[in-house]
Symmetry: C2
Subunit: 384 residues, 2 copies
Amino acid sequence: MRRVAVIGVGVTKFGRHERTSAELFAEAAADALADAEMPASRVQALYYGNVVGGETEKQLHTGPQAASVLGIPTVPTTRFETACASSHAAFRHAVMEVASGASDVVLVGGAERVLNVPTADSTEYFAYASDASWEQTLGLTFPGVFALVARAHMHKHGTTEEQMAAVAVKNHRHGVLNPKAQFRKEITLETVLSSPKVADPLKLYDCCPFSDGGAALVLASEDVARTARRPIWVLASAAASDWMLLGDKRDLSRVPATERAAAAAYRQAGIGPQDVDVVELHDCFTIAEIVATEGLGLFEPGAGGIAAEKGWTSLGGKIPVNPSGGLKAKGHPIGATGAAQICEVVTQLRGEAGARQVEGARRGLTHTLGGNTATVLVSLFGRD
Amino acid sequence: MRRVAVIGVGVTKFGRHERTSAELFAEAAADALADAEMPASRVQALYYGNVVGGETEKQLHTGPQAASVLGIPTVPTTRFETACASSHAAFRHAVMEVASGASDVVLVGGAERVLNVPTADSTEYFAYASDASWEQTLGLTFPGVFALVARAHMHKHGTTEEQMAAVAVKNHRHGVLNPKAQFRKEITLETVLSSPKVADPLKLYDCCPFSDGGAALVLASEDVARTARRPIWVLASAAASDWMLLGDKRDLSRVPATERAAAAAYRQAGIGPQDVDVVELHDCFTIAEIVATEGLGLFEPGAGGIAAEKGWTSLGGKIPVNPSGGLKAKGHPIGATGAAQICEVVTQLRGEAGARQVEGARRGLTHTLGGNTATVLVSLFGRD
């Protein structure tokens, strides 16, 4: 298997856009190709993530549409959908294509448009990632899913609402430093704690927003990457799944798929959590960040809330988590999220993250979660 | 890259089912694993195709659901969606995973449920595979797309409605021999020609039906396959795309993506169309079969209609096409179709196709088309 590098990244501003998801992807992809100094004509395949396009845009078959809008209609293209982890799944399969020698230059990305439909509708469409027969029929939507996770974590570890709120405060503080972030204003613990309840104990500011946006990156084989300006190497990319139904899981305070994907990724890369300098992880709700920091081995089980409270995950802390602002402040255009996390870690490892730079970062990790904690992707990156 | 084999196949009966797509897939997958004499616990990854689950079942994230229902929730799983070619795309990426050495045993398949919604709704949902901004808004649905293809082919090559009807008659004759087919009755040219117009010149019997169903197959590395009862080798698997919009295509009488995917597959396998003994191809409409036989190089451009009329593509003819009955008679549960075509060719190459066996078949080809001819997959198979 050959080494694979990311040689170009591009992300749209996240937030409300009056453009189709294919157009949002085109902006991100053009930026990624320009960043890689690579003409579109050299792209040999497109790996594309999109989730609710059928619901919000009446658009399936978004792979060839994304290729057409870029003017490279003849490259093989596939749409990947694994709920919020879709473009991270696309990335993992693209890495296999380049590593196996099948292609030398592959474009990866994703996009989503959801702010063109009412919030009640997008909430319902997102819930399609949970089981239609047994969960949706009970009225379960994702704030409810993560409220159950939060309750389990509070019960088992004594995690507090203040600790969860600290995640939101930290990610908003980071988001101020990211020109592409949807929310660029600091908030206080009090802002979070006094915000309206969405699904007890989760309040409005414990939840990431709905967002439109696109993200893209250019993958290259080692030979091609050696001629690139700033290659960042893919050290590992691993996926794991878990039972679809919440009711089939034994302990909602953990995400076993995160633990398995992380273990596989660390094994592939031959490093451990102590070797990671910067992390972009899936904070769809504040509790999700706390549980993920534990599942990734950054902190002991039960210590994720304490770490958030003590600032260990802040820029300047022991292990900065979500310097981009995370899903909470940067935004969460679901089909773009996994690719956008990778773009941030690559930018950090290049040392080009400006005001939000993690000084001296050499190894980075991205973590994306799909659905009822049923799909997790973890990838590791390093610079020479 | 390692050699890869199909060592087990399973297909549900196609038609109307009162089960979810995940349950339909589970039936097919259990059959495929039993056929491979392989316990589910040895499966290392699931590659899954599903298209309109969001629309007809309010179900996205169908990969982990399919794995859960099989009792293998922890294997990495991804849903692929490239319109009607979805499970063929899943197959191609799964072949890469095994060929690259990442896994030894991979389950591939797909399922779809559409007969639980009114025909007008499924027609609209299928149209989501065409462009939402420029085509759906004009009322274009797939019978209209292929009526345009038929008109272009008739104009350029003199293809007749009787030649198209001959495809339907042949595929219905084949379907009678397939216990899993949705339609098992012979029809006459007159049945087709006198059936109601759907989109002139296409009539009801020029169109494949809506179908529920599932299909699955077990892929194995060469080492594992050598211990299997009847391995059938994957000689090639190639994808090609084309402009999304019909209006961007130069000549609707051809499908350039078919021509490119076929050329790539023949090159990979080191064989040509003259070496193929049996073909399962994408006859969503009768004209699609005619155009595909030309694009795959089985007949010269313009000769596909003549070949159909003269019986060259019948069982017993020069090159039997769609011995299963094809999408026309076997049915077209879109997410399952690509996998089901592969199951048929594997069954043929094993010499186990019973009354519809192509005698002495050693090399087989499958061809699946997605959307407005914008995605095509072609794979080649051979027995020792």
